[in-house]
């Protein structure tokens, strides 16, 4: 016969009484001691679920309650109740380190799959549903902001500028869905030789980059890469992916308190760098594809990328996992292989 000590509360006041509780063969639970003596059917008692080693509360039909730390005795008394089965199963998962490690491995695998495939695929789907006006709203003021801080009006000779524009409009007229894109030539100031695509459809190319190019093929390669960013809606997808990442991390580390949650910014930064590298590779692929179709050697992209690196004095010592771009050497190799 299972018997255990408990504290009894009548549910009307906070007064505490010490009692003994035991199961009778008739299927009734008896509570006795200290001015309390009653019994009720075991099936009518609602025991709280077992969570770790916390005390259990047995709720009786009249609103009174027993509290006891004797978890094994409570489990034994209520073993036959079918309502207790799910709670027992979960508690047994939570009780062994082996199961916990298994749960950890499963969680890690699910997170890895979600981050590598789930979030990017989802963002792609959502981006396909959203109208192009979303991006225009996103990047509306980006160019004005860049002009204030990083860029100055282009100082290229007018003939060179005209040639660039002609090159660009020839390219976009041949690419489906690219007709709204605009080329913006600027002096790069501290930005140096560079090109960027803004979600609003503007492609900024700096004077320094135009001067760095040895052939038009190289400029076509860079422009095709930037058009690739826009065509594949990387700005919007990046926004969606970054928000999803923050949500995911918040969901996993949900019960972190104040300061410790600072730490969760770190994986977010690493993930965002990884997504950025993936987008760069995707834009490279777009460029290779365009160049092959137009009879331009894909290695032109690698050639100008390597020269940009050399000009910049190449900060090659940034580790790959922190960098927002894949290593230039790798990109150049792929451009040669793309042929």
């Amino acid at each position: 016969m299972t018997q255990f000590r408990a504290l009894y509360y009548d549910g009307k006041t906070s007064q505490q009484r010490e009692v003994l509780v035991w199961a009778e063969p008739s299927g009734r639970l008896r509570v006795s001691g200290d001015g309390v003596d009653f019994g009720c059917r075991i099936a009518e008692v609602r025991p709280s679920p077992r969570v770790g080693n916390t005390a259990r509360h047995l709720q009786f039909p009249d609103g009174s309650q027993c509290e006891t730390g004797d978890n094994d005795a409570v489990d034994a008394v209520f073993a036959a109740l079918p309502s207790q089965a799910p709670g027992r199963l979960i508690h047994s998962w939570e009780s062994r380190y082996g199961y916990a490690l298994f749960a950890l491995a499963l969680t890690a695998a699910a997170l890895w799959a979600g981050i590598t495939y789930g979030i990017p695929a989802l963002a792609k789907q959502v981006a396909a549903v959203l109208p192009p006006s979303t991006e225009r709203a996103l990047g509306r003021d980006a160019l004005a902001a860049l002009d204030r801080v990083l860029l100055a009006p282009s100082k290229l000779p007018p003939a060179r500028r005209e040639k660039m524009r002609a090159l660009f409009s020839h390219m976009v007229s041949g690419i489906e869905g690219a007709d709204g894109y605009r080329l913006e030539l600027r002096a790069g100031k501290r930005l140096g030789a560079n090109a960027l695509a803004l979600p609003s459809g503007e492609i900024v190319v700096t004077d320094q980059l135009v001067e760095l190019a040895e052939k038009d093929d190289e400029l076509v390669a860079v422009l095709a890469h930037e058009i690739g960013h826009l065509r594949q809606r990387h700005g919007l997808r990046r926004l969606l992916q970054d928000s999803a990442t923050v949500l995911l991390i918040a969901a996993v580390t949900g019960d972190l308190s104040s300061i410790a949650s600072l730490a969760s910014a770190l994986p977010a930064i690493l993930l965002q760098a990884k997504y950025s590298r993936d987008f760069e590779s995707e834009a490279d692929e777009f460029a290779f594809d365009y160049m092959k179709r137009h009879g331009i050697p894909p290695e032109s992209l690698g050639a100008i990328l390597l020269r940009m690196d050399k000009r910049r004095g190449a900060a090659t010592d940034i580790p790959d996992y922190l960098s927002t771009h894949p290593a230039t050497r790798e990109r150049a190799e792929r451009s040669r292989a793309a042929r």
């Binding site: 009548d10 906070s14 505490q16 009484r17 709280s48 309650q65 699910a110 996993v252 308190s257």
Partner: protein, 329 residues
């Protein structure tokens, strides 16, 4: 009737501390199973996970020999979550298709916000119990709306100068509308005391800024943690020492140095374990903080009367979870 088994009663004039008996290893296993099952069920289990987490922390918090109890029904929480997530999804969608309709929905949301916060506080309170007596929170829509004009309108208008006054009013509002059984809480701090704490915290923030600059950013984290430890400790001490429950008085012994060490070790542990030590950090925090909250029974601790109960839906609670309100006691 006096009763000899009442541990707290035998030492009626002394302070009795809360105790926290949770173990990091035990909570780690609960935490990881919670996350794993939440992922595997696409979030449905997260309602049960929340209840198990709260039951673990409540159940390991002891006053005398009696544990606190968290009583929320996971199904009510799941329903609340579905309503909140659905509402949020509709709002985002409508806002994209028609910004004006989105704005109208935002105004409607602002209108129901006082109601949501009252419901959230109520849900939390009635699902918390000690010695089979539940807590409760009751406040009207109008008075909550008036309180909310402080953070939404007046604090921004005064460039934050009213913030300490708002913090004071908020704490007072929530305590004075809360009960344990039928016994109301009371709060006797002054707005001036809140201003003093926030003023000193602001000075600590200046120290943090100066320290970060002087150490070229290397010292930013420790200096920030020192500031946070100072602010949390000073606020908690002021708040608890000014709280009454019937004849009960509370005391709080959080120290800046102790909190600093706690936060620093927790942060380093969580960062260098990629989050795996966060259950350990949560248990350490609860242990430090609860052990240093004590109460002095002015009367008999067994004499609180329970109140008649009614059930409360969880929509408010889930909305406040999603939006990150912190209106708890």
């Amino acid at each position: 009737m006096a009763h000899p088994s009442d541990a707290a009663q035998s030492a009626a004039s002394d302070f009795v501390s809360l105790r926290f008996t949770g173990q990091a290893g035990e909570y780690f296993r609960i935490w990881i199973v919670n996350i794993c099952l939440s992922i595997a069920t696409l979030g449905i289990y997260s309602a049960w996970a929340k209840v198990r987490r709260k039951r673990y922390f409540y159940g390991n918090t002891l006053l005398g020999d009696s544990a606190f109890e968290y009583l929320a029904d996971p199904k009510a929480i799941l329903k609340g979550r579905i309503v909140v997530v659905g509402g949020f999804a509709i709002y985002s969608l409508v806002g994209r298709i028609n910004p004006m309709a989105g704005l109208a929905m935002a105004l409607v949301f602002l209108g129901v916000l006082p109601w949501l916060i009252v419901r959230a506080s109520r849900f939390n309170a009635v699902n918390s119990a000690h010695r089979n007596v539940r807590f409760d929170f009751r406040a009207g829509y109008g008075e909550m709306a008036r309180l909310l004009t402080l953070p939404i309108v007046l604090v921004p208008l005064t460039l934050g100068l009213l913030y300490p006054y708002y913090a004071y009013r908020k704490r007072r509002f929530f305590l004075e509308h809360s009960t344990y059984g039928t016994t109301p809480f009371a709060f006797d701090a002054s707005a001036g005391a809140y201003y003093l704490v926030y003023l000193k915290s602001a000075l600590m923030f200046v120290v943090f800024l100066a320290g970060s600059v002087v150490t070229l950013g290397v010292g930013a984290l420790p200096f920030y943690i020192w500031f946070a430890a100072y602010r949390d400790g000073a606020l908690a001490r002021l708040t608890w020492k000014s709280t009454r429950l019937g004849g009960l008085r509370f005391d709080c012994g959080w120290k800046t140095g102790g909190l600093f060490k706690l936060y620093l070790v927790n942060s380093l542990g969580v960062i260098f374990s990629a989050g795996l030590l966060s259950p350990w950090a949560a248990v350490r925090t609860a242990r430090y903080q609860l052990k240093r909250i004590s109460l002095r029974p002015g009367g008999e601790i067994g004499a609180f009367l329970a109140a008649a109960q009614e059930q409360v839906g969880a929509v408010g609670d889930e909305a406040s979870d999603l939006l990150g309100f912190d209106f708890g006691l």
